[in-house]
Symmetry: C2
Subunit: 260 residues, 2 copies
DNA sequence: CGGTTGTTTGAATCCGTTCAATACCTGTGG
DNA sequence: CCACAGGTATTGAACGGATTCAAACAACCG
């Protein structure tokens, strides 16, 4: 999620191996801040195409020059906001939520370091969901108009953007499969294994981590009630698949968990 | 869905007002066929950006020159197939299905005339779902590589492609909301109203139409069992919201149906 | 330290599933 | 043309997984 230098530093777990060092980030909630550089960002392997030259990075540095600090619970953008930029999570984590007229809420995704936000806004020039910080977080601002210009000259970047959009489509399809066909137990198992994979890809432990979201937010993502989430955690504990203590998660037997 | 000249012509309902005339299409299942022309296709307002010049259309005609006829039940592409083209439905209709290792199936969407297929394949150069024809259908083949070239010269087309991808993301988010938060009754109501809107946008009746999919396929899309779909149809009938006779649907009271 | 928020667990209830039987529709072949 | 077959749709009754409501507990913050 974040390096120890960022945010509240109350996390004694995930950053034990700070494999991906990040710049120190002031805790003040300054809306924008210069100084971010793609060219030497530790996250660049996650949000940029792999084969970029030094001059390519220079071009991106000229575009993505601001970051935004978002306090826990605050929004990066809200449904209805004019779409102007994509965002990359530089530190911390977010949830994206769509709210129906009648108040129904669905968490459409959780985004951690190196993942991208805001692609829903391209269609209608308006965001269709809220992006809320799960902890004090930092996002890189990627102005869409300028990104397009870069894409016109940098074909690999253009291709990468198409792929990111398509990836989001595939991710959501998978989530639909989960919501449409799986039991509460299976949904939670898949959710934990998916999170584990993403943490591992970032150099953190894939078996021990801290959840940044509440049981309610997990339930709202998986289409089940928070009580059910809690019951399933208890069941996993009983069956020696996962150990939990509050937000702390230890996946004991990933293989069996996948077969639930 | 299709004009009377296409397919089995067993549909006495939807094409009663053939507002969108289509070219006659031979019933033989020829894999590819020349002769399609974007410039004078009746569907062009649906799958292309609005403000194109004659020369712009000429460019597209040079690219999208083949169509493919797909028999009911046959696939346009399958999960694992190499991604090479996007597809636009020219006549008929399709469903897209993801199949989990364990056999679980989820219908991620239904595509009718003028809608687009295949965007899931961009991410990994492989399709991730099956696209199956619900009736004898015709799809325009849009070679992705060549489309990219056109996009590089035709900015409005490029923007449109980005928007189409984003639109798909938004559509899937909405579907997730449905799967995650709504009762069986509400899901079916929303589904029917959504279909009605799309038919209406194509010049057909928004209150009377024929379903092209079975109860099982509807259920598989809505995350409920086919028996439940049937029960909800019966409930709507009892409450004078919708009248059905097999695949024939008449939405009697759309306002109340939306409030279910 | 007290108040707030988040988590766990139990018991009763309910919605959707499962299993099963019957009816229907459509295309096929006698 | 009618009868038949096979897939599709409807309906009932019993069951079960998830929800609801409620209460107790734990963790966190000012």
């Amino acid at each position: 999620m974040s390096s120890t230098s960022v945010c509240k530093a109350t996390d004694p777990v995930a950053p034990m191996r700070p494999v991906i060092p990040l710049y120190a980030v002031a805790r003040t909630d300054v809306p924008k801040q210069r100084g971010a550089r793609c060219s030497n960002c530790a996250m660049r392997t996650l949000c940029l195409p792999p084969e970029l030259s030094a001059t390519d990075y220079g071009r991106l540095d000229a575009i993505i020059c601001t970051t935004r600090h978002v306090r826990q619970g605050d929004s990066l953008y809200r449904a209805g906001d004019a779409f102007q930029s994509l965002y990359a999570v530089r530190a911390g984590s977010f949830k994206t939520v769509i709210v129906h007229r009648d108040g129904r809420e669905q968490v459409t995704g959780f985004q951690i370091t190196g993942e991208t936000l805001g692609m829903d806004g391209i269609a209608s020039s308006e965001h269709t969901c809220d992006a809320i910080a799960l902890e004090d977080s930092v996002a890189c601002i990627i102005p869409y108009g300028q990104l397009q210009k870069v894409c016109n000259e940098l074909k690999s970047m253009q291709q990468y953007l198409y792929q990111m959009l398509s990836n989001e489509i595939v991710r959501e399809s998978t989530q639909m499969l989960m919501l449409g066909t799986m039991s509460a137990e299976q949904r939670l198992a898949q959710f934990l294994l998916n999170l584990a994979t993403r943490f591992k890809a970032r150099g953190y432990s894939g078996s021990e981590f801290n959840l940044r979201m509440t049981r309610e937010e997990i339930g709202c993502h998986l289409g089940i009630k928070l009580e059910t989430v809690s019951r399933m955690f208890s069941r996993f504990q009983r069956d020696a698949l996962v150990e939990t203590r509050g937000k702390r998660v230890h996946i004991v037997d990933a293989e069996r968990l996948a077969l639930v």
